[in-house]
Amino acid sequence: MTEVKKTAAGGAISRRTALKGLAAAGATGAGLGAMPGFVPYIQAQSSAPIKVGFQVHRTGIGAAYGRWYDRTTLAAADLINEMGGINGRPVEIVAEDDGTDPKRGAEVVEKFASQLGCDVGFGTLFSHVVMGSAPRAGELKLPYFVVSEGHHVASGALNRWTIQPGICDVKSQVLAMAPFVSKNLGKKATMIFPDYAFGHDHRDFFTAAMEAQGAEVIKHIAIPPTETSYSKYFPQIPRETEVLYHVMVGPGVLTFVKELGEFFGPSHPPIFGFLDSLEAVDLNSPGLEFLDGTYFWEGMPRYLQSDAPDPVKFYRDRVGVDDNGASASDPKDVSTFAHMFGCWETLFVMKKGMEAAGYQTTADRQKLIEAVEAMEEMPFGDEHPQGRKVFNGKTHQVFGPQYISKVEGGKLVVQAETTAEDSFYPDEVDYTTQSF
């Protein structure tokens, strides 16, 4: 293995020399250089677009989210370009499917950094894809903006190049929910959640948050991810449950909620769910009538509220969402409204960061990260239609409002809104102390 050292060390030098030689030869179009994709990209010129590598779940279990992440991102990019781009340069979204798979996700990040000449990487939702991709982003020194709501960024598991400035993490979401649930719905909760890391975040943080409120979680029911029918687990819900807390993800969500209704019939306890359980699903699907009167967390209200301020209307309009949170062109195509705002807001944070850093070339990537780390207050407005946010530069995580809505007449009506400060928790990491 000592030989490796020599080869690797020596290789570093000779590899670069060889590459230079190849680039020279490549000018004549000979050899490898003639093959598609083998010409090393040329550093972007000042008028060339800023390329945002967009890692999107087009296939795999995340596809329903990916579609709406895609639309929101393109809408935001169009708006930015209408506003004159970033530092005088237009923004180009370079989208690539990651198959909702951590291996492919890492490959896509590599492709952004080394092949497609992207300035930053952006967008992914499912946390295992983030975990699989982030190490490569760190090694390639590619600013990696994730829109995942996982606690992985703020927990310190990732690196200085990975940042989540557009969507709150699960820990802060459930922290903000616990007071409402314990005060208004019940002190003894039963939790049903997927046996995924995402579900475990809910389990761990909500349980602790309830205890802090003097309430308790009396039963955890973790549903295996391969499951397609759920009724058989519901009898494990204890009779003394005062509030039922549910969160589910994946293609089975509608079955899950429907079977929950069938199980209880007319006599269900108060129910509090995360809208993840019904993202991209019509609230008025057959079998969901029982949800009337139950409560949901929403990242952003899906149904247009009567008192909605202008930035919210503007955002809905630009993305192409109707008053019910479905596609303006197809009312059956329901959006993932509670999460997708994160793409919009992240792009604007990126824009602001690039402007603050005077970003010109990929050599300025480190300055971009430092500029975002320096951010704090993000006021409500067109760029942040979900609400005012506070960014924590040390943990690379943003904090913002959460909405609690009640189903009334087949629509979600906001009952309460928590503030960014309600969702604060002590820092678990300080990324700014890490080297680039």
Partner: protein
């Protein structure tokens, strides 16, 4: 819920799974038994059945204004027919050309699986879409109890089922009977069994083996699609829904013993019920692990299947 009602409740849930699983597995078993090939795309035929059911019922509901029950009834006929036709074409275009070689068929059907999934994603989308059940009343169930006041019926919290779930069980049983009748009484069934028993001899007796294979493949796919139409009002149509039924069907076919209709149905009951009953005793994921290991160990220690006769 108390132990007694829970056990009955879980068994009832298991019975619904067993009902659709026995249809799906029977389709796989026919293909496997007659053609001696492993059809990895079987789960995709199941998925296509569900998707086709959504199209038929949505079209019937919106374009023609049909009530839910009529759309569902139409789906129950049209979806299996369409999927069967597609399978027939796949057999002629691909499987027949690789000569039903076992290994090549596995690769070809994996390729088919990717193609069908991707086409569905492109044409139908990534969402899980519901099909409205023709009827769906919740039925609360009573439980006998001997208390201080003697015998009484009680109504445990959550103890119930729906009329549609009961219908699924009955409909699957009826379909199974129909398939059994076709296989054991009709000329086609006779020809199929002859081909299964000895391909060369069947050919020598003038049976068009190629045609029999194509029809068997179509019938197998249609059975999977029929099972999917039955289940889709309970679980929505989604382009990745084929994996689970494929896996479970394989297990059922192996445990039930090759090409045995009785064994397949019994094994489906066993798998469906144990899936339900094990969930009573353990936390959900642990229950899945144990059920999975149980199946593996059954196969290890009774490789001929639980119901297959031990061959010398």
């Amino acid at each position: 819920m108390d132990f007694g009602p829970y056990l009955v409740f879980a068994s009832l849930e298991g019975a619904v799974l067993a009902a659709t699983l026995s249809l799906t597995a029977l389709g796989l078993s026919l293909v496997f038994g007659v053609m001696r090939v492993v059809n990895v795309a079987h789960g995709e035929f199941f998925m296509l059945g569900a998707v086709a059911a959504w199209f038929v019922s949505a079209l019937g509901g919106e374009a023609l204004g049909l009530p839910a029950w009529a759309g569902f009834a139409a789906a129950l006929v049209l979806a299996p027919a369409a999927v069967g036709a597609l399978a027939w074409a796949a057999d002629r275009a691909i499987l027949a050309r690789v000569g039903y070689d076992p290994e090549r068929t596995i690769v070809a059907t994996i390729g088919l699986l990717y193609i069908l999934q991707q086409l569905t994603l492109m044409g139908y989308g990534p969402e899980a879409r519901p099909v409205e059940p023709p009827f769906n009343a919740r039925i609360a169930l009573p439980w006998p109890e001997w208390g201080a006041d003697g015998f009484a019926w009680t109504w445990p919290w959550g103890f119930g089922t729906t009329s549609y779930k009961l219908f699924v069980i009955v409909a699957a049983a009826a379909l199974l009977m129909a398939v059994w009748a076709v296989l054991s009484r009709s000329r086609f069934g006779l020809i199929m069994r002859a081909t299964q028993y000895d391909r060369e001899t069947a050919q020598a007796f003038g049976i068009p083996v190629g045609k029999v294979y194509a029809w068997t493949f179509a019938l197998g796919a249609a059975l999977a699609a029929a099972a999917a139409v039955l289940i889709v009002p309970i679980q929505q149509a989604h382009y990745l829904m084929g994996g689970d039924p494929l896996l479970l069907s394989f297990i059922v076919v192996i445990i039930g013993g090759l090409g045995s209709l009785r064994g397949t149905v019994l094994a489906a009951l066993l798998i469906g019920m144990s899936d339900g009953v094990i969930s009573v005793f353990f936390s959900p994921t642990l229950a899945k692990i144990l059920a999975t290991l149980l199946v593996a160990l059954v196969l290890v220690f009774r490789p001929q299947g639980l119901f297959g006769a031990k061959t010398a």
